[in-house]
């Protein structure tokens, strides 16, 4: 009898009683003042990637976001940074003739030879290095040098994490760039340290469950956090998950075989990543982030592990004052082990 109106009844049972404010104006302003007095850690590249995974917002132009970041700190920051942002040199890829499907299948077979398992309830230790055009050092958008960060993460079985991050020495392409960086305040000369922690995750959220070991399920899982089911979005998810997860051989094989089903994946060839490790690179081109971008995963030939992830603008920089092609982000996954 009531079933047809059950949803209407539920609506009327709103515990908040609509949207009226319960906190007094005085309490609200006091809270605001207290919040603004708290410190804000500088965002790191890892946070950026996780953020996109957690809060995927397709259609928002990266051009706008990065341009705002650059101009804000160029105009208003304590240290004047060149508007023309320096970007890392592209990696040198040795193109191969194999099909991407064959390469990925070969790596999947190798991955399956790794039969080790992560014991249930294990704590993890992970380390990676990365850089992104939007990264800030001490709230300053450094455009005169490449200042990568290294992050160590300790993760418990309940999903809670603590991490420490430090900036690495600035990198320059030539002496002139170093001079420009020095004139701009030498931001990043002294390492910047940040650390933070998060509590346990919601175990009911499927995204917090272990990565599937079957290709189709893996694909669905990777794309569950994305607004569109594009291959680039899957690349993004693979990288994001690898920041704080340790996949076994079956999970890696599932990921590789899922990617092998995507027709827009290309084989880019052999390459040495920015940590000096040799790997096989597969890429996909997409403009889902707002600008035409090439997304690349570099995979370990001996075990199918993800070694690195790179994003490069390909044909236009939009409102960004960088040359094209330009690497705008990279991550090297250095360590992932049971702690």
């Amino acid at each position: 009898m009531m079933n047809g109106n059950a949803l209407h009844t539920l609506k009327a049972l709103d515990p908040a009683g609509g949207s009226q404010v319960h906190a007094s104006p005085t309490d609200r302003e006091r809270l605001l003042a207290n919040v603004l007095n708290t410190s804000r850690p500088a965002p790191g590249p890892a946070a950026g990637l996780l953020r996109r995974w957690r809060w995927p917002l397709a259609g928002v132009a990266v051009a706008t976001s990065l341009a705002v970041a650059v101009s804000t700190y160029t105009l208003f920051g304590p240290n004047a940074q060149p508007a023309q942002a320096m970007t890392p040199p592209p990696l040198r890829y040795a193109p191969g003739s194999e099909s991407p499907r064959a390469v990925l299948e070969r790596l999947a077979v190798v991955a399956l030879k790794d039969t080790s398992r992560v014991p249930a309830g294990s704590s993890l230790y992970l380390k990676h290095q990365g850089w992104a055009l939007s990264t800030r050092i001490g709230q300053i958008q450094v455009t005169s040098a490449i200042v990568p960060s290294e992050r160590e993460t300790w993760k418990k079985a309940d999903g809670s994490m603590r991490w420490k991050q430090r900036t690495l020495p600035p990198r320059f392409q030539n002496a002139h760039d170093e001079e420009v960086w020095s004139d701009a305040g030498a931001v990043g000369e002294d390492p910047q340290f940040t650390e933070d922690a998060t509590g346990p995750v919601n175990a009911n959220d499927p995204l917090n469950r272990p990565a599937p070991e079957e290709p189709r399920a893996m694909g669905k899982w990777l794309l569950a956090s994305q607004e569109y089911a594009g291959t680039a979005e899957a690349f993004d998810s693979v990288a994001a998950h690898n920041l704080d997860e340790l996949w076994n051989g079956r999970q890696r094989a599932a990921m590789l075989r899922f990617l092998a089903t995507r027709t827009d994946v290309t084989y880019r060839g052999k390459v040495t990543d920015r940590a000096g490790r040799a790997g096989q690179a597969v890429s996909v081109d997409s403009a889902y982030g707002g600008l035409p971008t090439k997304y690349t995963l570099i995979l370990d030939e001996s075990n199918g592990k993800v070694l690195a992830y790179e994003e490069e603008l390909t044909t236009t920089a939009g409102a960004l004052n960088v040359k094209v092609p330009s690497v705008i982000s990279y991550f090297c996954f250095l360590t992932a082990r049971v702690d």
Binding site: M2, N3, A6, A23, R40, W55, A61, S65, T72
Partner: protein
């Protein structure tokens, strides 16, 4: 992708604009005593992560921050809101309610409280927050299409739960309704 919003003024404006909605979101999920602390925690976390805030979807983003904050707050089960408990308080203040209405509300509240947390959250976002699927998907970190599917299933399971809550023990519900009506 996000747009950095890093000045205090933009945060202040957004805080004042969305405070009521965020407070309501939290009051729907934890008991009233715990709500102020959680509200403070959510806005503190939002400030710390302000560089991540997407200008176009600020409220769904704030809801998402609240959702993750509540995931921690839920470790203390005593803080979790029970709709039936809230209903008891409301009903006690409205003694003139018709017994049949009270019966229906009790059944609906019991059905909602008995659902799994994922279904509850989908229904809250749809019915109480009134979010369009595109924004609700942002809160849950899923695709719009996936949200549509989850919503459809949650509604179906909710209706089944209401039926279950009503049919096996009609006499008991009438007794409960009479008790509430007598207050």
């Amino acid at each position: 992708m996000v747009i950095p919003i890093d000045d205090e003024q933009s945060y202040t404006d957004s805080y004042r604009l969305h405070f009521a909605a965020v407070e309501s979101y939290i009051r729907r999920r934890v008991n009233a005593d715990a709500a102020p602390d959680v509200v403070a925690e959510v806005f503190t976390v939002a400030w710390r992560r302000w560089h991540e805030a997407p200008r176009e979807r600020l409220l769904p983003w704030l809801y998402g921050v609240a959702r993750l904050t509540l995931a921690n707050a839920y470790r203390d089960e005593r803080r979790r809101a029970q709709l039936a408990g809230s209903l008891a308080e409301v009903t006690a203040e409205h003694v003139a309610d018709h017994a049949a209405d009270v019966t229906e509300r009790l059944a609906v509240a019991a059905a909602f409280d008995g659902m799994n947390p994922a279904d509850q959250e989908v229904l809250r976002l749809d019915i109480w927050e009134g979010l369009p699927p595109r924004d609700a998907a942002v809160v849950l970190g899923c695709t719009t299409a996936a949200f549509h599917v989850r919503l459809h299933r949650a509604r179906r399971r909710f209706r089944q739960a209401v039926t279950t809550a009503t049919e096996p023990f009609p006499a008991q519900q009438e007794v409960l309704a009479a008790e509430w009506g007598a207050r």
